[in-house]
């Protein structure tokens, strides 16, 4: 498992908010992709309702996962490939490390893969002397910079061209240039050598299809096609949920994936891979391995509240509309997955208690649900997670919340179900607020803790001298008299 830093959400989000470059980049990204994706859904020949169809396809696949995975594995094996089922990230990593040892792998080229970020593959391979090169341009940039991705599809969104220019001048020894085509060309040249020399290609899996027994990868750059064609060994990693039953269903999900991820009708390179090269073929890997990773996913499967999350195909459309992600950036989420998908899936995979700020630090605005290519109800699951945090849950190892917060809500519940008491408190509040410092038009400048967060940047409204309930009573009396 890669490092988890979910408990640092608040301080990391502060850092993201304070970074004007990040803010500009994210707002540009959200304006282009956020609106574009909604428009792309509307333009679908089947209409935006295709997302509901896709949701049903995914739900059916999830409900039959065992059958689908067995079929996939049988097909791939019949095609000469190997399939390994890894219950944990450690098992998945050590299987790949074993192949690397057996084959004497010195250099591995990698296509962008979220699940390998999740299970921390690179560091383990590096520790046994394998040079692992990320080949997606964005991933390559952040690998050179020694950072982690901040967006699922656009991992280097937080880097400016000037930063890339510095980085490439230092690390690739090219003359300083801030011109994106020339920077891209420099990476192209450097990575081409790596592709041609690599002993192993590593990829993720966007979606597998059980009927035909293939996995598939999607990229615009062609790096994944390079990594799965040129090296003698291809190891593909997939989360156990990334599968549909049939090719016609695969087609629907693929189209939505490309629209959700990057407002495209189709990615430039879509590869459907069912095994190693055949006898007589001059390229393609001689060994093909598929590693199916559980790593906590079967716990989501077992919980009806969260099973829906397994419909997710990590298109990242939710990141491109989330107002919170748009301000704090991906690093704040403290794990491989950021944005709304991260806020739900990261606590479930890495610990609900320690990820509590991810579940609570969202506004429940619902934009993610509308943007989701699979029509997943992310806000519903955020609410479920909050309920778990409040009431505790043995399955997820969460103790009920104690102390002040719980008591505040208990008292609140008592008040709102006793209108007489509630009204008296309102009156008392209207009087007591006179003690607080005021700003313009009687608005309150500073509230005491635990409400002081509000007045950090805003004034707080004063309670009306007479609430509606008393105004109504007065009004009725007047009407009665008149």
């Amino acid at each position: 498992m890669s490092a988890v830093r979910t408990e640092r959400y608040v301080e990391e989000s502060r850092r993201g908010i304070a970074d004007p470059v990040l803010r500009r980049a994210l707002s540009g990204l959200q304006e282009r992709f956020g609106r574009g994706t909604a428009e792309a859904y509307r333009r679908l020949p089947e209409g935006p309702g295709l997302r509901q169809t896709a949701h049903a396809i995914r739900e059916k696949a999830i409900a039959n996962l065992d059958l689908l995975l067995e079929r996939l594995a049988a097909r791939i094996r019949a095609n000469g490939g190997e399939v390994f089922f890894a219950a944990t990230g450690e098992e998945a990593v050590s299987y790949c490390a074993g192949i690397a040892r057996r084959r004497g792998v010195k250099l591995a080229v990698k296509g962008k893969s979220m699940v390998t970020e999740e299970i921390g593959l690179n560091s383990v391979l590096a520790a046994q002397g394998v040079e692992v090169v990320e080949t997606d341009l964005g991933e390559y940039i952040i690998q050179l910079a020694g950072e982690s991705p901040s967006h699922i599809i656009a991992p280097a969104i937080h880097k400016t061209r000037n930063e890339v220019a510095d980085l490439f001048a230092r690390k690739l020894g090219i003359p300083y240039t801030t011109d994106p085509p020339r920077l891209t060309q420099a990476a192209r040249r450097a990575l081409r050598e790596k592709f041609l020399a690599a002993d192993m290609g590593i990829s993720g899996v966007n979606l597998a299809c059980a009927e035909t027994g293939h996995i598939s990868t999607v990229s615009n750059e062609g790096n994944i096609r390079m990594a799965t064609t040129l090296p003698p060994v291809h190891v593909a990693f997939m989360g156990l949920e990334r599968i549909v039953a049939r090719l016609d269903e695969y087609e629907i999900i693929l189209r939505l994936l490309c629209r959700g991820a990057s407002v495209q009708d189709i990615g430039t390179y879509v590869s459907l891979i069912g095994g190693p090269r055949r006898p007589g073929e001059s390229d393609g890997p001689e060994e093909f391995h598929l590693v199916v990773v559980d790593n906590g996913r079967s716990r989501l499967l077992a919980d009806p509240r969260f099973r829906e999350m397994l419909c997710c195909i990590r298109c990242a459309a939710c990141l491109n509309v989330c107002p919170v992600y748009g301000r704090i950036g991906g690093h704040a989420y403290g794990f491989a997955y950021s944005g709304p998908v991260g806020a739900v899936v990261t606590p479930l995979l890495t610990g609900v208690q320690r990820g509590r700020d991810l579940c609570r630090g969202e506004t429940l605005c619902g934009a993610c649900k509308d943007a989701c290519s699979m029509d997943i109800d992310l806000p519903r699951m955020l609410l479920e997670l909050r309920a778990i945090l409040a009431a505790g849950d043995a399955t997820w190892g969460v103790k009920p919340e104690g102390g002040l917060e719980r008591n505040v809500w208990r008292i609140w519940a008592g008040l709102v179900s006793h209108p007489g008491l509630y009204e008296r408190l309102l009156r008392a509040g209207a009087v007591l607020q006179g003690l607080l410092p005021r700003g313009v038009a009687g608005w309150i400048r500073r509230l005491p803790p635990p409400l002081s967060g509000w007045t950090q940047s805003r004034d707080f409204p004063p309670l009306a001298k007479a609430p509606f309930r008393s105004r109504w009573a007065r009004r009725r009396r007047e009407v009665g008299r008149g």
Binding site: C365, R386, W412, V416, G453, W454, L463
Partner: protein, 252 residues
């Protein structure tokens, strides 16, 4: 002879406590339309704050109180998108395992409407004879927009107000950063969101910003007041009641 229509008003806690004028404006608008307004006493809260914070048992207690109070009402109207979204979508799920409450919750959900939704979709009323001389922009509250799919209704109502110049702000549909307890617990994120919202409102050139959910409006107004900006922040009912003859005056 026509049957006199009537609605039961649900005044959410924030409106009651912080902006009673908005609820009074709702009453004015309905009376002007010749619709009788009932207001059962003892109203408090629909349970949304506790529900959003994860305190479901506490939310259920509030919801039970709400359901008891409104059990026999034919049509319930509230000047709040998020409270109606709570009643319509979430309260029934709170009682998944309590069939009698669940039934009552479902029945109530089907009878509860947001104010602008009720005016436009149910009554078919768009021109309310209101006047309001100002350049106005509209903020889409998240739960009103995405929870109830109310987007065009308030705009149609505003466009018919005499003297009102309607301008769209950039990203009207983007969250203002209120989010209930979120605004207090994650003040940095919430402040960043409302700062952008305020900037977009200013860029629109509007003199007043209007919305349908008091949480958002108080958040936006709080940021405006802190910056001592002179923009007005109003619940849409306050605009729609603008220039109306006083209640009890000549009807349409």
């Amino acid at each position: 002879m026509t049957v006199k229509k009537s609605v039961t008003l649900f005044v959410p806690c924030l409106v009651d406590a912080f902006r009673p004028e908005a609820a009074e404006a709702v009453v004015t608008v309905f009376e002007r339309l010749g619709i009788a307004v009932e207001y059962p006493p003892g109203q408090t809260c629909c349970g949304q704050p506790a529900f959003n914070a994860g305190y479901r048992e506490e939310a259920r207690r509030a919801a039970r109180h709400f359901l008891r109070l409104f059990a026999d009402c034919e049509t319930i109207v509230a000047p709040s998108g998020s409270c109606v979204a709570m009643v319509r979508h979430h309260v029934p799920t709170l009682f998944e395992h309590e069939p009698r409450w669940r039934e009552l919750a479902r029945r109530t959900a089907a009878r509860t409407f947001e104010f602008t939704e009720y005016l436009v979709d149910v009554l078919g009323a768009e021109d309310l004879g209101a006047s309001f001389a100002a350049r106005v922009t509209y903020h889409d509250s998240c739960h009103l927009l995405r929870g109830l799919r109310v987007q065009e209704q308030p705009r149609r109502l505003l466009r018919r107000v005499k003297g009102l110049e309607f301008v769209e702000m950039k990203n009207a549909d983007c969250c203002c950063g209120f989010g209930g307890a979120f605004s207090v617990k994650y003040p940095d994120i919430s402040s960043a969101l409302v700062a952008d919202k305020v900037a977009w409102i200013q860029q629109s050139g509007a003199e007043a910003v209007v919305g349908g959910d008091l949480g958002c409006l108080l958040n936006i107004e709080g940021a405006l007041r802190r910056k001592e900006l002179p923009l007005r922040v109003l619940h849409i009912a306050q605009v729609l009641a603008g220039g109306c003859p006083p209640a009890g005056g000549p009807g349409p």
